[in-house]
Subunit: 229 residues, 2 copies
DNA sequence: GTCTATATACCGATAGAC
DNA sequence: GTCTATCGGTATATAGAC
C-alpha cells in the first residue's frame, strides 16, 4: 500500500499545475496574457475561493470578499473570469477531469480485479485528500447549479461510479467476486469515499488517517465480495 | 419487514403536523394567532421553500421568490418568521428532532442487537424517504451556516451516528457481532443512509425502491458483522 | 494589468393603508 | 392578517485613469 505522502508527491497535481491547466482551458475569456502573471494571480484567487467556500459557501461569498481575501481589486478579478458563475464552472470542470484521469491511470496498472478495486479505492481517497478543497467545492456547489450544469454534475457522479462498476463486473465475470448486486455495491463505495472528504472533521476528530480509512474500506468491501470462498 | 407505505401512514408526521409543531415551537416570533390560518399558510411556505431549495438552494432563493411561489406577500411572510435565517433554523430544528424521536422509538421495540440494527437502518431510510425534502434541506444547508449553527449541525451528525454506534457496541459486547472497528462501521452506515436521500435521482433511475435499498444495506452490513460465525 | 469610482439592479426588511 | 410601496444597503459588473 502506497503511503499517502508518496502518492501526493508523485501523482497529485500541484495548485500551480491546476491553475496553469485552468488558464489554458479558458484562454478565450481570460484577458491577462502573460502566463507567469496569470498563474500567480489565479493561485491567489483559487486559494481565496476555497477558503471562503469553507467559511461561508460559494453562494454567500461576494466578489468583494474574494477581492479582499485574494488581494486583487474588483476590476482585476474580471480579467481572470467573466463572472461569478463562470468562475465556478471553470473550477468544477478541472476537478472532475483530474479525478477520472488519475484513477484510471492507476487502476490500469493492475490486472487482478481484487487488486484493481483496491487501487481504485485507494487512489480516489488519496486524490480527494490531496485535492480536498476541490472535492469539497465540487460537491457542495452541486446544489445551486443551473439545470444544465446540474445535469453535468449528475453525469460526473455516474462516471466515477461507473469506474467501480466496471471493475466489479469484471471480477464477477472472472469468478473473483461473488456479488449479485454490483450496481448497489458501486454506489455504496462511492458514498463511502465521498464521506471521507465531506466529513473530514469527523475522522480527524477520531484520529483516523487516510491510510487507515482506505484499509478499512477495502477490507470491508472485499470481505463481502469474496464471502463464500 | 414493514412496507414503506405502511410506515409512512403510521409513523411519519404529515406536513400538517410538522407545520403545527413548528408554529407551536415558535409562538413568540409568529404574529399570526389563529392556528388554522397559521398552519395553512405555513404549509404553503414550507412547500415553497423545499421546492425552491431543490431548484436553486436556500442561499440563492430570495424572499421575493418565496413570496411568488407561496402566494403570500413579502409583508405577510414576515408574520410567519422574523427573517430569512430564522426561517432556516425553524425548519432545521424540527427535522432533527423527528429523526431522533422516531428512530429511537422504533429501535426501542427490539432487544436482539441484529434485529435492532436492522430496524434502526430501515427506520432511518423510511423516514428520510417520507420526509425527503426535510433531509435534503438539512444536509444541503449545513454548508452555509454560521459557525455556531455549524457546530450544532455537526453534533446532529454525531448524534445519529451515536445511535448506530451504541447498537454495534451492544452487539459486540453480547457476542452477536464480530467487528474490531465499530466506529468506522457506524460512520459507514451513516454515509450510506445519507446517500439514499441525497442521490435519490440515481436510485430512481436504476429503479431501486427504498425497501430494496434497505434490504441491501442491512444485508451488506450484517454479513460483515457476523463474518466468522 | 491593475486600480478607483460608479452604474444599475435587487436584496432583506419595514411602515402604514385596508 | 394581508397588502402595496418603499427604505437603506449592498450585490455584480463596468468605465476609464494610470
Amino acid at each position: 500500500m502506497l503511503p499517502f505522502q508518496e502518492f501526493k508527491k508523485r501523482m497529485a497535481p500541484s495548485i500551480e499545475i491546476i491553475c496553469r491547466d485552468i488558464i489554458q482551458e479558458n484562454k478565450g475569456v481570460i484577458s491577462v496574457k502573460k502566463e507567469a502573471v496569470a498563474v500567480k494571480n489565479m493561485m491567489r484567487i483559487l486559494d481565496a475561493v476555497f477558503s471562503l467556500n469553507r467559511e461561508k459557501g460559494f453562494e454567500t461569498m461576494t466578489l468583494r470578499d474574494l477581492s479582499r481575501k485574494s488581494g486583487l481589486s474588483m476590476g482585476a478579478l474580471y480579467s481572470y473570469f467573466p463572472g461569478k458563475e463562470e468562475l465556478r464552472s471553470m473550477i468544477l470542470r478541472r476537478g472532475v477531469a483530474y479525478t477520472r484521469e488519475v484513477i484510471l491511470a492507476q487502476a490500469g496498472t493492475c490486472t487482478d480485479p481484487a487488486e484493481k478495486l483496491k487501487v481504485a479505492i485507494e487512489t480516489h481517497l488519496y486524490l480527494s485528500e490531496a485535492l480536498r478543497p476541490f472535492f469539497y467545492f465540487a460537491y457542495m456547489e452541486a446544489s445551486s447549479l443551473s439545470k444544465r450544469e446540474k445535469r453535468r454534475a449528475m453525469e460526473d457522479e455516474l462516471t466515477t461510479e461507473q469506474i467501480f462498476l466496471d471493475i466489479l463486473e469484471e471480477g464477477v465475470a472472472s469468478g473473483d467476486f461473488d456479488c449479485p448486486e454490483v450496481d448497489l455495491v458501486a454506489a455504496l463505495i462511492k458514498a463511502v469515499l465521498q464521506d471521507w472528504y465531506l466529513k473530514r472533521w469527523k475522522y480527524k476528530r477520531k484520529g483516523i488517517t487516510v491510510e487507515q480509512y482506505a484499509r478499512f474500506v477495502v477490507g470491508f468491501v472485499s470481505s463481502r465480495l469474496t464471502l463464500d470462498r
